[in-house]
């Protein structure tokens, strides 16, 4: 190395010029609770169990979502609909309990694809954090959408997604 290089001072000077430029650069930080990062249209977030137009639960506890789930996060118990419960459950059989362990769930969306009743959907909501493991096992109280506060799942159902689902249904009928 030449004497100039061995002094390191020109190199250090070059270094401090680079660092000072970063002082004025746009910051990469997203102040999370105030501003949220934009997510993809087909973002797979927190699940919802949909009700139909009259407010009855769509899920019939067929268990396909639990079977298809690669993380084995879904468990359910079925029960038979009694007389007078038609406004609560759309099908004759319904899920008495329906639990998703959010710590196991990998948000792959296979449950949504498997569902024959269009009952379970993944939404653009983000799973809230908590302190205990038990609080991450979401039961029907957290999963089923409230009657007066419907969860919009149409944003995720883009043309491509719908077409994909259509083909699957047809192949299933063969």
């Amino acid at each position: 190395m030449s004497l100039m290089e061995r002094m390191y001072l020109p190199a250090i000077l070059g270094g401090i010029v680079i660092t000072i430029k970063h002082l004025f650069k746009r910051k990469a930080t997203v102040r999370y609770p105030e501003t949220k990062r934009s997510i993809s249209d087909i973002w797979r977030g927190l699940h919802v169990l949909k009700r139909d137009d009259k407010g009855a639960e769509r899920c019939t506890a067929c268990g396909l979502c639990a079977v298809v789930c690669p993380a084995e996060a879904i468990t359910m118990e079925s029960a038979e609909r009694k007389k007078g419960e038609e406004n609560l459950y759309r099908e004759e059989k319904y899920a008495a309990t329906y639990e998703i362990n959010m710590l196991r769930c990998i948000f792959c969306g296979l449950c949504e694809e498997a569902c024959p009743k269009e009952a379970i959907f993944l939404t653009d909501r983000i799973l809230p954090t908590d302190f205990t493991r038990n609080s991450f096992i979401f039961g029907k109280d957290k999963l089923v959408e409230p009657v007066d506060e419907r969860v919009d799942v149409t944003k995720r159902q883009t043309a491509a997604v719908l077409e994909f689902k259509e083909h699957k249904r047809l192949s299933h009928n063969k």
Binding site: T19, L23, K27, A28
Partner: protein, 347 residues
């Protein structure tokens, strides 16, 4: 006599307060500067722009559990951070924070004590500062602490030599050890005659002093006493709560004081160009000068942080090579050249 005591007491107390305030906000500035240089935004939750962050940090330090190891020497364990803090604060006494204030016909200097051996006092106090670290590391009775303390003291003692030698060249030039007189000699544009800042005459001396100041403050690229991979926390491994806070705080006070010393010795202290041509009153110029002095200090504190996020740290042998084989010979050569030039031009 009474008024003299009141004046000195007020001055000392306010400088003590300002020193602590600046040191506290240096911790905030450090995090903000670090964040901004890395394209982040840094702490912004405590108050607007996070300006109450130092308060939150201080509160955290005080509320934390105090732990003193059973095997430690309790007296020395407590004495360590006290010495570190005290010596850091003591150096502020001889720094000329401004000119003089005229009040009721009396002239009050904005310097607590104008010692005629000011620089020597600074060096003495800084040397005692090594004891704070060494005692703290030794009293912890922990091998990591001891190794960190030995590293820190070896580094500080090595760089003190080069620092002292770089100052000798300046003293040859200024003919005085008093920081007040050195500051006055650099007064700009007085009576049509230009007095340049000392950095113009002593660029090499300034560079050596600056590098040594980084090493004395244990700042990057010389922050070897702390090293997570080898030494855990270095000399303050066993320290917790406010005692650890004192060590960290002393570091920031040292940074503030060394910025003040650098500004005084090489960058004109409280003087600024055209200060006598503006036609302002004496007191206005003094206050303006003090503000400008703090501006210079702020710049140097920023420079300390700026360097921290630019240069990676040295290896220990590189550190010793730089200190003993480069800086010391360089400063001796600097003394010779300065002496030679003074003989040629002043006679």
């Amino acid at each position: 006599m009474m008024s003299f005591l009141i004046y000195k007491f007020t001055l000392a107390t306010s400088i003590f307060g300002i020193t602590l305030f600046v040191a506290a906000y240096s911790t905030y500035a450090e995090r903000k500067v670090a964040a901004f240089l890395q394209d982040r935004i840094g702490p912004d939750r405590a108050g607007p722009f996070g300006i109450f962050q130092p308060l939150a940090d201080g509160l955290k330090f005080i509320m934390k559990e105090e732990f003193i190891p059973v095997v430690s020497n309790k007296f020395l364990f407590i004495a360590g951070p006290c010495i570190a803090m005290m010596t850091a604060l003591m150096a502020g006494v001889i720094i000329p924070w401004g000119g003089t204030i005229l009040y009721n016909g009396n002239e009050y200097s904005l310097q607590i004590a104008d010692l005629n051996i000011g620089i020597l006092y600074v060096f003495g106090v800084v040397s005692i500062g090594v004891y704070g670290i060494m005692i703290g590391g030794w009293a912890s009775n922990n091998k990591f602490s001891l190794l960190g303390a030995i590293r820190a003291s070896a580094q500080m003692i090595s760089y003190e030599i080069a620092m002292g030698l770089s100052i000798i060249a300046l003293i040859i030039m200024t003919n005085t050890l008093s920081l007040h007189e050195i500051a006055v000699q650099q007064a700009g544009g007085s009576g049509g005659e230009w007095n340049f800042w000392n950095v113009v005459y002593q660029p090499v001396g300034f560079l050596i002093f600056l590098i040594c100041a980084f090493a004395e403050c244990n700042r990057t690229p010389f922050d070897l006493p702390e090293c997570e991979t080898e030494l855990v926390g270095g000399y303050h491994t066993e320290y917790s709560s406010m005692k650890l806070g004192f060590y960290l705080f002393a570091e920031y006070i040292n940074m503030f004081i060394s910025s003040a010393v650098i500004s005084t010795l090489y960058f004109g202290g409280y003087n600024f160009p055209f200060m006598n041509e503006l036609g302002l009153s004496h007191n206005t110029i003094t206050i303006l000068g003090t503000l400008i002095f703090f501006g210079k200090i702020t710049f140097f504190i920023f420079f300390f942080m700026w360097i921290r996020w630019t240069i990676p740290r040295f290896r220990y042998d590189q550190l010793m090579n730089l200190g003993w084989k480069i800086l010391i010979p360089l400063s001796i050569i600097n003394i010779f050249i300065t002496g030679l030039l003074i003989i040629i031009f002043k006679h």
